[in-house]
Amino acid sequence: MKLHRIKALLVKYFYISINRVDRLFDVVYWPILDVLLWGFASAFIEQVSDFNLLSMALGGVILWIFVWRSSQDIAVFVLEDFWSRNLYHLFSSPVKLSEHIVSIIIWGLVRAIVSFIFLSLISILLYQFNILTISPLFIAAAVALLLLFGWTMGIFITSFILRFGQRIQVLAWSVVWIIQPFSCIFYPLSALPPWAAAIAKVLPTTHVFEGLRSILFGTGQGNLLYAFGITIVLLVGVSFLLAQSFKAAKRKGMLARGGD
């Protein structure tokens, strides 16, 4: 890996962001809507019952940003290179796939941090909820885990795009939302029916949000150690898959075609 090439790609993403307002938009717009929705819903629930949903819901929304951005950014940036038939120039240059992915990861991280700061400020202003008052050590671990898992999913989707082309582009936006209901962000694992709980327990995200609940309410069955373990295993697995898909894409001539 060469730093100047990663820097070159970061410059490209920077240019894309300043040239296209909509790419700045999704850093703040959708997440803010999420915070507003769950903030108001929690405020209402607190009025009619004495259950404190606010910190769990807002904590969940804010942390989810890291999964969302990191997975979607990888897939969407690769897709955009497909659409604009850019892989031709990119991969005839000395860029390696790993440099490509790392640069997107870094850029996605920057975008996630911007979102995180925005949402944290908004929840302090509107709901007097400061996520950093929750155990900083836990938050740091949770963020690291969610990022790793987001990258895992992003790389997973990217391998599919490389293998099957733009036909499956819908995955780029949807996978993160398929995972969400099983991640127990807004409700405890115990609230899920057995079949769903079985899926949820496997997901590392569930363990993060269960962990959040144990800190907030003292009830939860999160196992961060397991979550880290499984995420690393998955990440290694999907990286291998990505390398294979990239080779398959070269064999099929996808880089010089730009999808179909």
């Binding site: 060469k2 850019n86 240059s93 070269k250 064999r251 001539g253 880089l255």
Partner: protein
């Protein structure tokens, strides 16, 4: 020194369950400093060959050596010293020309990038458009942008796959000159494809003809032209061409067509037929207005090869 050595290259694609042989047992080499033309009908396998050389498409079998190295092992050495350009793949369309070139300059680790970019923009007459997004450019302007990218790293090895499509005659001529000058100045090696035969003739030192993935021949343009044994003669009389027609038939020459007082016929390249015909015309008291012998062009050669089997 051979900058490109291709040996027994083969590539098949699966398309709707059927196997398409895009490149078949292809072997050739290009010497340092040569401009080598790859010609062939649509689908002959030219782009696939270039894409394999550029590391974009993986071959089924066969070997490639670039700049004396195995590009799979020494990819960084090779890729830093080569570049590709084509009219068919524009640069990132939401970026401006200058932004695109900056990104590629950084990717290739170009020293003095801004100066290089300004030079290229000037050469391809894009300076005024430098801050326009690629998406808003005309197709010829996009093509020129892609050419700037192709030269951004002063490549030692340059692949140009139909890099002049859509350029107006003026800028196309300038582009050919830029390519030629660049080649002279740097002594680089160029693999070139185009469907514009005059361009190929002007630029290429040697030409390879491909057909259905296979190599038909490699030669210089002059050598190729010698392979066409017939020349066309266009002869115009002051009036009446019936006698001329009879005369040609007597000589056993094929009349290809004509109108009014003009006839087009074919002669053997080496024969003395034109002389004979003219002498006989004079004897008959017919006066000659115009005579034109059309030597074969590379277009004729192309058509000759493309229709060979049919």
């Amino acid at each position: 020194m051979r900058d490109i050595v291709v040996s027994k290259l083969r590539k098949t694609f699966k398309s709707k369950g059927k196997e398409v042989v895009a490149v078949d047992n292809l072997s050739f080499y290009v010497t340092r400093g040569e401009i080598f033309g790859l010609l062939g009908a649509n689908g002959a396998g030219k782009s696939t060959t270039i894409n394999m050389l550029a590391g974009l498409v993986l071959q089924d079998s066969g070997t490639i050596k670039l700049l004396g190295k195995d590009p799979k092992k020494d990819w960084e050495f090779v890729k830093n010293r080569m570049n590709v350009s084509t009219a068919y793949f524009p640069l990132t369309d939401v970026l401006t020309i200058r932004q695109n070139l900056r990104v590629y300059a950084k990717l290739y680790n170009v020293k003095n990038a801004e100066k290089k970019i300004d030079e290229l923009l000037e050469q391809f007459e894009l300076t005024k458009l430098a801050d326009k997004k690629v998406v808003t450019l005309s197709s010829g302007e996009r093509t020129r942008t892609a050419l700037c990218k192709g030269l951004i790293n002063d490549p030692q090895l340059l692949f140009l796959d139909e890099c002049t499509v859509g350029l107006d005659p003026d800028i196309a001529e300038k582009t050919r000159r830029i390519i030629k000058d660049y080649q002279k100045k740097t002594g680089c090696t160029i693999l070139f494809t185009s469907h514009y035969m005059h361009e190929v003739e002007e630029l290429c030192d040697r030409i390879a003809f491909m057909d259905e993935g296979k190599l038909l021949t490699i030669a210089t343009a002059a050598q190729l032209k010698k392979q066409v044994k017939k020349h066309q003669v266009e002869l115009t009389l002051e009036d009446g061409s019936d006698e001329l027609k009879e005369l040609l038939q007597e000589e056993g020459l094929t009349v290809l067509g004509g109108r009014d007082n003009m006839l087009v016929f074919e002669i053997d390249a080496k024969s003395d037929d034109v002389n004979t015909i003219v002498q006989r015309l004079v004897k008959l008291g017919l006066s000659l207005k115009d005579i034109h012998i059309r030597k074969p062009t590379l277009d004729d050669i192309f058509i000759h090869f493309a229709r060979r089997k049919k």
